[in-house]
Symmetry: C2
Subunit: 345 residues, 2 copies
């Protein structure tokens, strides 16, 4: 072939072609050698994550999964960001009650709201549909979806976490952000499956985790569509349509995703049902529990009944189910996304 | 630059480089020239679709949309496939009642089921929560999601459309399949937003339309998670949690997608609310109504009260709202996906 002959007899041209090829090889090798989980200590959990991704995405592997099947679900509070001293949405409820109480003298007669304002917001929310619903009704209903989401955004812009002094949206766990990136880089689609409110999470999940609204599954209440003065509106009416927690999580996964995930990340008994749904009699699959063991950098809780994300039965089941347990203190080099110029902790 | 100099003084090498570039240009031009909507006659509707895609996806266009905003919603029955003589899911209900009635002597006492078996399934289903729910209860509940979806698959494999003699899953509208491909080729994400059952549609939507389960929004009932004999199960309990029709469509869109679509395709008054939600005070946006005008090849109905997808108020509103109306008889060269070896109609 004449073109090849010409190239072969021109060493300088040939060298340039080889150099270009070499650059390609070097770049590829560098990319392969870069540690995809730099905030993780070398640990069984880290190895298990990498090994699962490799065996499910390497062509020819007996456990290879088509990209459509690579669905990963993540709890949010306590798994992707903290839930202490209060779940962040409970803090939002409290801050909104304080901000708005001047306009609502009738709230003084409301036992749930007075208890929350007296500092008991978390236990009122946990108390169930009756009193908890009153707090949500006061702060999450009777407005358009747009108005509600503007309130969440204003809160994120102004509120600071009491222990860490940073905006709440700045407190994602760096090691988990790396897991999200690793999975996306290997063709997985991550979904959040959280007991938190969908309308609340969708305000910030894309900027904090890179997860778009349609991949954020959470609890939700009734919403009504209305054409008012020829303007289309969606109005939050309150009430609860799905509590996306415990047995509600596999239900939410089915309703929104429509197929079983192959990887599930949680931190509490509230995630046990979705860990089961992901992993039992379903191979290949992967379950992981973030165990909060780090009272110095973040918090330590499991069976402590004051712990928001109480972890008892899921931790007991983990060895039998093959779920990986992350020891936050031992396995994570850093907990939070580093701030520019600040020391990592 | 030495490399450039060497190339410039070697005409034959230069020619080869130019030839390669030329091939690239020719391929690109061929791709651009290929008609993306070959089953559409040159018509205002066809032009409007192409023009919307071009102005929202061409970098630098004042109407350019980021890919994340390129969300398109499609009604299913009557928009992507027929709904005559019965909506296909109503036919499934009837066929299941007939198949299973031998095992259910108690159905003889059920007025809804006896009316349906006497040939009135569509009006019983339309009659509302009471009697319609009895039919759904008998055919869509009391089994696992897996069992239900196996029944749908068996039905698709065996049932044939009474007018067209083809499997129901063979009756997608070819012009609409081309619209789906055109949108996907330009970075849009299509969602189905249908009054039909989500569990029913998710069985076949991926193979028929290329739309994965997580992008199929439909009506749904209660589902319960249970760990039975250490096996995780999702059980369809019946009841209706969301009727994804009329005002329920913007609610479903909000619940599942979490942002407003920019393009909406429907065929009946049941789609009017989502057409409004997509287009009013929301630019750039696009609304389209498939008007069934083709009694020869498919069916003709609008204000006919027997028509399943009754189209009155949405058709009246179309000019004022700027919604494009497709005249099926005039605008579509073919209606159905061609069968190999069969003449197109």
């Amino acid at each position: 072939m004449r073109c090849g002959e010409r190239l072969l007899v021109r060493p300088r041209m040939m060298w340039r072609v080889l150099a270009l090829l070499l650059v390609g090889v070097v770049f590829t090798t560098q990319a392969a050698a870069a540690d995809p989980l730099p905030s993780w200590h070398d640990s069984p959990a880290r190895t298990a994550i990498l090994e699962f991704v490799e065996r499910t995405t390497t062509p020819g592997s007996p456990d290879f999964l088509e990209p459509a099947a690579r669905i990963a679900v993540f709890d949010n509070d306590g798994t992707l960001w903290p839930e202490t001293p209060l779940p962040f949405q409970a803090q939002f409820v409290l801050d909104e009650l304080e901000r708005l109480q001047g306009d609502h003298p009738e709230w003084k007669e409301n036992p749930a709201i007075t208890a929350a304002l007296a500092g008991d917001v978390a236990s009122v929310l946990r108390s169930g549909p009756g009193q908890g619903a009153m707090l949500l009704e006061a702060t999450h209903a009777g407005m358009t979806v747009d108005d509600f989401q503007s309130r969440v955004r204003r809160w994120l812009d102004t509120a600071r976490h009491p222990d860490h002094g940073r905006p709440y949206s700045d407190l994602a766990y760096q090691p988990m952000l790396e897991v999200l990136d690793l999975l996306r880089d290997h063709g997985f689609t991550p979904f959040i499956v959280s007991g938190g409110g969908a309308d609340f999470m969708r305000v910030w999940a894309e900027e904090v985790y890179g997860i778009p609204p349609s991949q954020v599954i959470g609890s939700y209440g009734k919403v009504r569509y209305e054409l008012r003065n020829d303007r289309p509106l969606l109005i939050k009416e309150g009430g609860i349509e799905l509590i996306d927690d415990r047995e509600g999580k596999p239900v939410g996964i089915h309703r929104f995703i429509g197929r079983r995930p192959v990887a599930c990340f949680g931190n509490s008994d509230g995630d046990q049902a979705m860990l089961e749904w992901t992993t039992i009699e379903h191979e290949p699959s992967f379950g992981l529990i973030v165990h909060h063991t780090d009272a110095v950098r973040e918090s330590a809780y499991d069976s402590d009944p004051k712990g928001t994300g109480k972890l008892v039965t899921a931790l007991e089941a983990a060895p039998r189910r093959g779920w990986v347990v992350v020891d936050m203190a031992r396995d994570w080099k850093v907990v939070f996304k580093p701030l520019e110029g600040a020391p990592q902790r």
